[in-house]
């Protein structure tokens, strides 16, 4: 199986890598299987229909993930079993199959076989095992074939009847073992961390040391209390002496003074001692906290390899699907990065790599024409930079980004006017690819081409306090560069004051903070601008953008008492994505290391604020979300100048024809679209839809592919051939996930193609918004 898995020569390093990847797969696969088995057990016990649907959904996802994982490490035997199993669960989800106790028994048998196969480290299997495997596959296919169209809810979930137990106790003796395995875990495996013991030990040690610190501090508290008590005694004594003042002799008086002095000296000595011990404790605690933080950070650091080891398989698979030959070369996989950052990086990187394969690198024949090697190369490199950052470069030797096409797409989506388009610098044109809605792809697929992907990638990178840039040379290739902090804790921020409020601006978004004269800020078309380095940038008031209470607009020349720079204004020039805006602040306090904390579950997402930090004084200060802030600033500017918003909003009167044979899917899609403000008409199959389309007026048609009478492809073809209807955009929603089908979709003239398994309403709405 190793052959061709990695395109480089097989040396020892590769073998090690193979071992590691298989080990990783085993752990992951066991998790999926455990969750699947837990689901099975619950399925046997549960009757409420909603819960059953939930469990089936979870199990479907688990088996789907297991299949994917198996495929990426070339475990064909496992994949072969997962395939029919997944189909069954997909059908169960759609209520097309009735769950029977016999099928549950079969699922147990399957889980058992899978667990054995996963545990055995080799990809081969014994004759007996193969026989069982073929048996299982045959039986699974039989179950899948019982597929009937049950229109509404499923009828039977009497899986917990006696029958199922008898079915279970028969041929499958290992079933019990599987269930034992799964008792302790819940189906949801989210938020798990695997930590090597070597990293945990120091943590444990530190925790123990903390007990010592706690005891010491308790003691100091007691010592201080004692001192306090003693002082109080002396206070009482002093009052006694005050009352005796009249009768006191000089000798007595002197004696008293001596005693007082002596005791004061004693107290002082003890006090000094407590202070010294306190300082000692504080010093220890400082060290302890610092090393604890460091060790904690180490726990969360993982080598990049964990993130990227499935990438070569993925690249091979996708490029194979598209008849391309592509090598992925990864460098710097040993670099350690905070786990939380790695996790957030996974999707953006996969997206970028897909982009390279889909749009960057051409088919072999194209490459030959351009005198390029037949095999394309994608380079993914992780390099540690000074100042605790990592630079990720992803480059391909493909076609490069066609700037003309980008400009066309931007103008088409309304982001640019023809006029401004002509004035853009080449690199400014490239930056347009981040704009949502700009895609140069001919057909929209759910993976790439919707022009949303890069926007999301960029947002993710910025959320991690990173920066992203792109370089591209036509016919030579494209390079994406991402600069990220290695750890989430190494975050620097600038503390600013606006009126009585304090905020943190992430340093990475602050180009600079400057003081300018009020006169330098000019007013144009109702909003303020300033010229900096020969560039005009907008000026907005941070207080106004944030909507601070009792906000006083900054009056030009506002006098600050005792200030010689009374008519000076402080501007923080912030950059994010394509925005560069100057924000007025009252004061810049300092730049400092910031530990960003979440706002709590109640505040899931707050506009303009990404988190909060606690200053040394204990004061809580919000950390601003610059990408939000930019959008808020733009919308305020828009409101003020009362120009019509160029944002794409949903026109309330757009009419949509939804074609879907499943009553539940139909209701779901109708509901989503109506909530978004569209007027929806439904049709039950292609023939019905075609009739309705001819008699009614529609702005877009959303259709299922698999339907009785006339399917989605036929419908699309008919619409394209009809004079009156040919211009209507058609979105195909389908359960089929093959490239052939997508291409079939293009052939018949569909404008977009969404695969049901990855269906979400945001997806659908974005596409519709774009097409209408």
């Amino acid at each position: 199986m190793a052959e061709g898995k990695i395109e480089n020569k097989m040396d020892k390093k590769d073998i090690d890598f193979q071992k590691r990847i298989q080990a990783t797969f085993r752990i992951e696969a066991e998790e999926h299987l455990r969750a699947f088995s837990s689901g099975l057990i619950e399925l046997e016990k549960t009757t409420p229909k909603e819960r059953v649907a939930e469990i089936i959904e979870t199990m479907f996802r688990e088996i789907h993930s297991l299949k994917g994982a198996a495929r990426s490490v070339d475990q064909k035997e496992i994949e072969a079993v997962c395939q029919p199993l997944e189909s069954i669960f997909a059908a169960l989800k759609r209520n097309e199959i009735v769950l029977s106790s016999a099928s549950i028994a079969l699922f147990y048998k399957t889980a058992d076989w899978l667990s054995k196969q996963i545990a055995s480290s080799v990809n081969e299997q014994t004759v007996a095992s193969r026989k069982i495997q073929q048996d299982i596959i045959r039986q699974l296919k039989e179950v899948a074939a019982t597929k009937v169209i049950v229109p509404a809810m499923q009828e039977s979930s009497e899986a917990n009847s006696e029958q199922s137990h008898s079915a279970l106790s028969g041929p499958i003796s290992e079933t019990k073992q599987v269930s034992d395995l799964s008792v302790n875990s819940t189906p949801a495996q989210i938020g798990m961390v695997r930590i090597p013991i070597s990293k945990l030990d120091p943590l444990l040690l530190q925790a123990e040391e903390m007990i010592q610190s706690k005891i010491s501090i308790d003691q100091r508290t007691n010592e201080l209390k004692d001192l306090c008590d003693e002082l109080n005694e002396w206070k009482t004594e002093a009052q006694k002496w005050r009352s005796r003042r009249a009768v006191a002799t000089v000798a007595l008086w002197n004696e008293w003074c001596d005693t007082i002095e002596m005791h004061l000296n004693k107290l002082e000595t003890r006090m000094t001692e407590v202070i010294r011990s306190m300082e000692h404790n504080q010093h220890n605690l400082d060290l302890l906290v610092n090393s604890h933080l460091e060790a904690m950070k180490q726990v969360l650091m993982l080598p990049v390899g964990y993130l990227v080891e499935t990438f070569p398989g993925m690249v091979r698979e996708i490029s194979h699907e598209q008849n391309k030959e592509i090598d992925l070369i990864i460098r710097g996989a040993e670099l350690e990065i905070d786990k939380r950052i790695l996790e957030e990086l996974k999707d953006p990187l996969i997206h970028l790599i897909r982009n390279c394969i889909d749009h960057g690198i051409g088919k072999p024949q194209e490459r030959i024409l351009q005198n390029k090697p037949v095999r394309g190369t994608i380079n993914l490199a992780f390099v540690a930079k000074e100042s605790g950052q990592v630079e990720i470069t992803l480059s391909d030797d493909g076609k490069g980004i066609d700037r003309v096409n980008v400009l066309k797409a931007a103008i088409k989506s309304g982001i640019l006017s023809d006029e401004t388009a002509g004035k853009l610098e080449p690199n400014e044109v490239l930056n347009l690819i981040y704009q949502s809605g700009v895609s140069t792809s001919q057909i929209i697929t759910d993976i790439s081409g919707r022009g949303l992907g890069l926007t999301i990638v960029q947002e993710k990178v910025e959320k991690l306090n990173g920066k992203m840039s792109v370089e591209s040379e036509e016919h030579k290739g494209t390079t994406f560069r991402i600069l990220l902090p290695l750890s989430l804790a190494t975050f620097r921020g600038i503390l600013v004051k606006v009126e009585e409020f304090m905020f943190i601006l992430p340093t990475i978004n602050v180009e600079r903070v400057i003081k300018v004269d009020q006169e330098d800020i000019k007013t144009a078309e109702n909003h303020e601008i300033i010229r900096i380095d020969d560039q005009l940038i907008s000026v907005v008031d941070l207080a106004e953008v944030l909507g601070l209470p009792e906000h006083k607009y900054v009056v030009p020349g506002k006098m600050e008492p005792g200030s010689a720079y009374s008519n000076q204004v402080r501007l923080a020039i912030l950059v994010s994505g394509n925005y560069r805006i100057a924000f007025k602040v009252d004061d810049m306090v300092e730049e400092q290391q910031v530990l960003v904390k979440r706002l709590g579950k109640l505040l899931y997402r707050v506009r303009n604020i990404s988190g909060a930090t606690i200053l040394g004084s204990g004061k809580v200060v919000p950390v601003l979300n610059i990408s939000d802030l930019m959008k808020s600033a733009v919308s305020i500017k828009g409101k003020r100048s009362e120009t019509s918003a160029r944002e794409l909003f949903v026109p309330k009167t757009d009419k949509i024809l939804v074609v879907e044979d499943s009553i539940t899917s139909r209701a779901l899609i109708k509901n989503i679209l109506e909530t978004a403000g569209y007027q929806v008409t439904t049709a039950v199959d292609g023939a019905d839809a075609f009739t309705k389309a001819r008699t009614g007026e529609f702005d877009i048609i959303v259709s299922d592919v698999d339907m009785p009478k006339m399917n989605g492809f036929e419908l699309t073809a008919k619409i394209r051939n009809n004079k009156k209807l040919s211009e209507i955009p058609v979105v195909l929603v389908t359960a089929l996930e093959s490239r052939d089908d997508r291409e079939h979709g293009i052939e018949v003239g569909a404008d977009a193609y969404i695969v049901k398994s990855s269906f979400d309403q945001g997806n659908l709405l974005e596409i519709i918004k774009k097409l209408i």
Binding site: F501, L546, G547, L548, P549, K597, R598, L599, G600, K601, L602, L603, Y604, R605, V606, R607, N608, I609, G611, A612, I614, G618, K619, V620, V621, P622, D628, K631, S632, S635, E647
Partner: protein, 182 residues
């Protein structure tokens, strides 16, 4: 000095509370057997009303010394506070329930509500400690007693304390701020 005193009071309060809880816990099995259902509540004042809330969902009572308001959120989000290094959002129930604002309260306590899914603080003018309430003594709400939507109330006790439904508050999705920028 004052802080010291307050801390002392707090400690005393906590000690008493813990004792009471311990006693209540020790009693519980017996009471369950005799099937007379009691619940422990924490009584507090907010604005013009006296409320109580089930103590099982109260994680702790925290003194409100400082807070940070957040710009641009609904007014019922009073702000965020620092609870031993963690950020805790604090809700002003008067605003959430649309109760009339009658003068300035003392607002010096935060009752921290918590279950597995959610955690936040609610403001209180004063906290009066715990009591045990017989569930049978809880009556329905006369519609005029309070401006609060009935769905958040469990009833009124003999002592005219309004029993808030903490579980409901914690699981209410209307209270969660999830604000996208367009």
């Amino acid at each position: 000095m004052q802080i010291c005193k307050r801390n002392k009071e707090m400690k005393k309060e906590i000690r008493i509370k813990l004792k009471e809880r311990a006693i209540a816990l020790a009693k519980e099995p017996v009471e369950k057997d005799t099937s007379s259902a009691n619940i422990d509540v924490i009584a507090f004042t907010l604005g013009a009303e006296n409320y109580c809330i089930e103590s099982v969902l109260v994680k702790e009572i925290y003194p409100l010394t400082d807070f940070t308001p957040l710009p641009g959120v609904s007014s019922y989000i009073f702000g965020i506070i620092n609870v031993r290094g963690q950020i805790l959002p604090v809700v002003d129930l008067k605003k959430f329930f649309n109760l009339p604002e009658r003068g300035l309260g003392e607002l010096n306590k935060v009752i921290i509500l918590s279950n597995e899914q959610m955690e936040f603080g609610i403001l209180a003018d004063a906290v009066h400690g715990t009591q045990t309430i017989d569930l049978e003594d809880i009556r329905g709400i006369p519609p005029t007693v309070s401006g609060i939507g009935e769905e958040y109330l469990k009833g009124v006790t003999k002592e005219s304390l309004i029993l808030l439904d903490a579980q409901r508050l914690l699981s209410d999705e209307h209270i969660v701020v999830n604000d996208e920028v367009n």
